[in-house]
C-alpha cells in the first residue's frame, strides 16, 4: 500500500493489535474473523489493566447515543490513560452503526484526534467480509503484526 510510507515507523518488533469488546461481542467477532494475534482490553474495572510494550493498532466499538459524551468505552479510556499505552498507539479502527448519524464510529475519530493517529477503518456491527479483508490487507501490508 503506497500510504505505508507516510505512517509512523513501527518498532522493530512490528505492530500488534489491541481491542475492546463488550459482552455482546461484536468487535470480538470481527477480531476472530480477522484471525490475527490480538490482546483484549479487560471488561471489568477490577481486572488489572492491560499494558502494551510495543506499537499497536486499537480496535474499538463506539458507545452512546450519537454524542461525544460516552462515545469512547470506559475501559478504552482507562487503557489509554496509561501514558505508555498511549505513546505506543499507531492507529485506530472503529466499529459503529450508521443509524447513529454523525455519531457513526465517533470513538475512532475522538481517539484519532486526541492521540494524533490515523483513523484506519470503520465498520458496522461485526463487519462484513469486505471489512475484514480491507483491515487484514491494511494491517498486514502496512505493518507486520506480532503476538
Amino acid at each position: 500500500m503506497s500510504q505505508a510510507a507516510t505512517l509512523p515507523t513501527p518498532g522493530s518488533a512490528g505492530v500488534g493489535l489491541v481491542y475492546f469488546s463488550t459482552r455482546s461481542g461484536n468487535t470480538h467477532r470481527f477480531m476472530q474473523a480477522l484471525g490475527l494475534p490480538a490482546s483484549r482490553i479487560p471488561l471489568s474495572r477490577d481486572a488489572s489493566g492491560l499494558v502494551v510494550d510495543s506499537p499497536f493498532v486499537l480496535v474499538t466499538p463506539t458507545y452512546g447515543g450519537g454524542g461525544v459524551k460516552g462515545a469512547v468505552p470506559g475501559p478504552v479510556i482507562r487503557f489509554l490513560n496509561d501514558k505508555q499505552n498511549r505513546q505506543r498507539l499507531r492507529g485506530v479502527i472503529a466499529a459503529g452503526n450508521t443509524n447513529f448519524g454523525a455519531g457513526y464510529c465517533l470513538a475512532g475519530r475522538i481517539i484519532a484526534e486526541k492521540c494524533h493517529v490515523p483513523l484506519l477503518h470503520r465498520f458496522e456491527l461485526f463487519g462484513t467480509p469486505d471489512d475484514v479483508a480491507t483491515v487484514y490487507q491494511g494491517v498486514t501490508k502496512c505493518w507486520i503484526p506480532h503476538a
Binding site: M1, Q3, T6, L7, P8, T22, R23, S24, G25, N26, R29, Y63, G64, G65, G66, V68, K69, G70, A71, V72, I77, L80, N81, K83, R86, Q87, L89, G91, N97, T98, N99, F100, G101, A102, Y104, C105, K114, C115, H116, V117, P118, L119, L120, H121, R122, E124, L125, F126, T128, P129, D130, T134, V135, Q137, G138
Partner: protein, 324 residues
Amino acid sequence: MTTTTRRLSHVAAINWNRLQDDKDLEVWNRLTSNFWLPEKVPLSNDIPSWNTLTPQEQRLTIRVFTGLTLLDTIQGSIGAPVLIEDARTQHEEAVYTNIAFMESVHARSYSSIFSTLCTTRDVDDAFRWSEENAPLQAKAELILDRYHADDPLMRKVASVFLESFLFYSGFYLPMHWASHAKLTNTADLIRLIIRDEAVHGYYIGYKFQLALAEASPERQQAVKNYAFDLMLELYDNEVKYAESLYDALGMTEDVKAFLHYNANKALMNLGYEPLFPSSVTDVDPTILAALSPGADENHDFFSGSGSSYVIGKAVATEDEDWAF
C-alpha cells in the same frame, strides 16, 4: 418447542443495584438518555417545503409514513410487550417497557407530521390505503404470526427483523427528501427514530444470542433456518411493497439497495452473517450521507487515498483530556 423460558416471579421488587447482566443497565441508560418527543422538533418549518412536493410525491410520503405508523403500532402494543414474558432478568423486562413506550412515541410522531403538513382528508385516505395494501398487511401478518407463536427465539428474530429491516423501505423516503434539502425537520425527527431502532435491534439481538447459545446445536441450526426463511419471505414481500409505493417515481431500485444493506445489519444484530453480497448493498451515497454525515467519506486510511490525514507527532495527552 424445545426452548423453555424461565417465567419470572412478578412479586419480586426490581433492584437496579444488583444486576445479573450489565448490558441491561447500559442499554436502559442509553435509551433513557436518548428520550425525545415530537414536540421538540420544529416540524412546521417544513410547511413551505411540503408545498413544493407534487401531489403524487405528497401522497407517497403520507402513505410511507402511514406504513411506518402501522409497524410502530405493532411494536409498541404487541412486539415489545410480548418479549417481557421471555425476559431473562427483571431489568430486561424494564428495558422492554421503555422500548414499548418509545415505539408508541414513534407512532404518535407520524400523526404530528400529518397534523402539521397534511389535510385530514389525505391522511384518512392513506389510513384506508394501509388497510388495503396487500404487501403491508402481509408483512404485519408474517410478524404477528411469530409474536403469537410459542417460540421465544423466533419472537426475537421477528422483532429484530421489524426493528432493523422492515422500517427501512419507509425510512428511505425522508432520507431521500433530506438529500434534496426537502422536509429537513421531518428528517431530523426520523433520524431520532432510526437511532432508537438501532438500540432496540442491538439489544433484542443480543438477548437472542444469549438464549440461542443455551440451545442444542440441532435447535440452533433449526432456528437459523427459520430465521433465514423468514428473512427471505419478508424480503420478497418487501420488494412488492417497495414496488407498490416507489415504482411510479422510479425509485424502487435505490430502495432495494437500502433494503439489502439493512437486511444484512438485521441479520448481524442476531449474530448471523450478512446475506446480501456487497455488490447489491451499495446505498446511494446521498442517502447514506443523509442518514449519517461523513459515513460515506471514503478516506479512512485503509480504503481511501489517505490524503486527508495529517499525522501529528504522538504528543501524549493528559489524563484529564479523557474526562468526558
